[in-house]
Subunit: 301 residues, 2 copies
């Protein structure tokens, strides 16, 4: 399976990189190839200070070796080897009318010290973080998510949409990070599904990413905006930082287990503000965003 999934994310990284580069006339993605001392490595591709994308990263990695102690506890195993590969991306557009997007698709495998596979699963998803609410865009994003899910299981969309709302939640602010999308983990082989059908689902979701996000970026990237709206975007990006540094399990795991810091923190927005007790004006567009984030919506019906 890893010999099937890794080439898939390699090619997808190229496809997505090319798509975003075609939008930006100013700068291109730069690639860093890195090695993990304990086994494996990655290809980090970052774009900065573009005319459309202010900061973005499209990264793949494949790492393996002895399962770190902190993960032994998490997976309830001792003395195991592991293999993990995945693609993760974050795009922070410059225009505050354009939403930030995040996505990740990954495959994980555990082995006995003799090299026998004892567990394998897929995980990932995609989610949208707008600064201003354009209902049609959010509906489009969720409709693409739903269409893919419905091809694989009638309950997938509802389940993974809910998991996304639950996971990307700034509990200390009592608000969602964004307007969600899909989030799934531990998609294993079982009575109902083969590992191949899990692969088919995850790659179908991944292949739909550009369909879900690009039309939104294209529609919003050149909309006019004021310096006040830009300021709001920078303040809201602060919430993005808060989620990633305080709550995101992947980020914290990476930071505390000697991951490649620059690839992990690539997700943080380029320019951010924190104001004391900032409150949007009542009934403003900014207040409307907060209302939506306080009460995750059904974007389909």
């Amino acid at each position: 399976m890893k010999n099937q999934f890794y080439p898939f994310i390699q090619e997808l990284q190229n496809t997505i990189t090319t798509a975003f580069e075609s939008l930006d006339t100013k700068v291109r993605f730069e690639e860093d190839v890195w090695k993990r001392p304990e086994g494996g490595g990655g290809h980090t591709r970052v774009i900065e200070q573009g005319d459309v994308i202010e900061k973005g990263g499209i990264n793949i990695s494949a790492v393996h070796g002895t399962l770190p102690e902190s993960m032994q506890v998490q997976f309830n195993v001792t003395n195991a080897d592991f293999y993990a590969c995945g693609l993760s991306l974050v795009i922070h557009p410059k225009n505050p009318m354009a939403p930030t997007v995040h996505a990740n698709w990954r495959f994980f495998e555990l082995y006995t010290p003799k090299g026998e596979v004892v567990d394998q699963w897929f995980g990932g998803g995609l989610d949208l973080t707008p600064y201003y609410i354009f209902e049609e865009d959010i509906r489009h994003f969720h409709q693409v998510c739903k269409k893919v899910c419905d091809d694989h299981h009638p309950e997938y969309y509802a389940r993974f949409k809910k998991q996304c709302d639950t996971y990307f939640y700034n509990s200390h602010r009592k608000e969602a990070r964004g307007v969600g999308g899909l989030f799934f983990d531990y998609l294993r082989e079982n009575k109902e599904f083969t590992l191949q059908s899990r692969y088919d689902f995850v790659t179908h979701v991944a292949n739909s990413f550009l369909t879900a996000y690009l039309p939104i970026l294209l529609r919003t990237k050149d909309l006019p905006f004021t310096s006040k709206q830009r300021e709001w975007q920078e303040i809201r990006r602060g919430r993005y930082v808060e989620f990633n540094l305080v709550h995101d399990k992947g980020t914290l795991f990476g930071l505390k287990t000697n991951g490649r810091i620059e690839s992990i923190l690539m997700s943080l927005p380029p320019k951010v503000q924190w104001r004391y007790n900032h409150q949007p004006i009542e009934k403003s567009e900014e207040a409307r965003l907060l209302t939506v984030l306080k009460n995750p919506k059904d974007w389909i019906h």
Copy 2:
């Protein structure tokens, strides 16, 4: 003791507020008085967008009630009541030549359900986070710290300086948050010290804060700087955010136990940048800062 320490921090809040306000011609501190539903409350004083201080807070609080579950584990007690009061402050100057400063002095008490005191201690300290190294300023800060310590115990300065370097450490970056100062905790009554002598030490440290920091701010606040140096300050402020959100026990405790979010996150800098894999030019002043942060120095000898 609490009837002695709380009036002390009330008066100190006024003294420090007045001192910083006298520097800023543009804006003044604004006070928010808040109540904690479970008992107690605080006075949060914040200044923003001043001509000297870009963002700063000088807060006092006194809270009490049933010890939250997460703290029961930390203090290894069950079914206790608590009282905690303290002053905490963070000053983020506008000029990148001026260092950020943080300080906190607190008193904590635990009771049986019948109201008998079972434990009491002081904690706190002060520490400096420069963006550019001016050795004389850092020496001055540490000399003030040492002088106060030496009046109370010959080993205090060395011990609390080291604890400060150890605590304010961004382990994921393998660098200190700043150039340190003092950090102490669990200063209890014991064979050597009465609680009153602990009070004398902590209030002596607190009363020396303005002597330690103000001359540095006065000397640096109007130094010329370039937009590149301002950019460096904003990037380094990102490390400040990383420490506070990933490692700082006080911040995380507050965020996860329903503290007053705006008072806790008041410490975050106003404008922050994250660049992918940013590295200063070799032998530049920016590189010099990193060298100092990688290897905590002895600033006295």
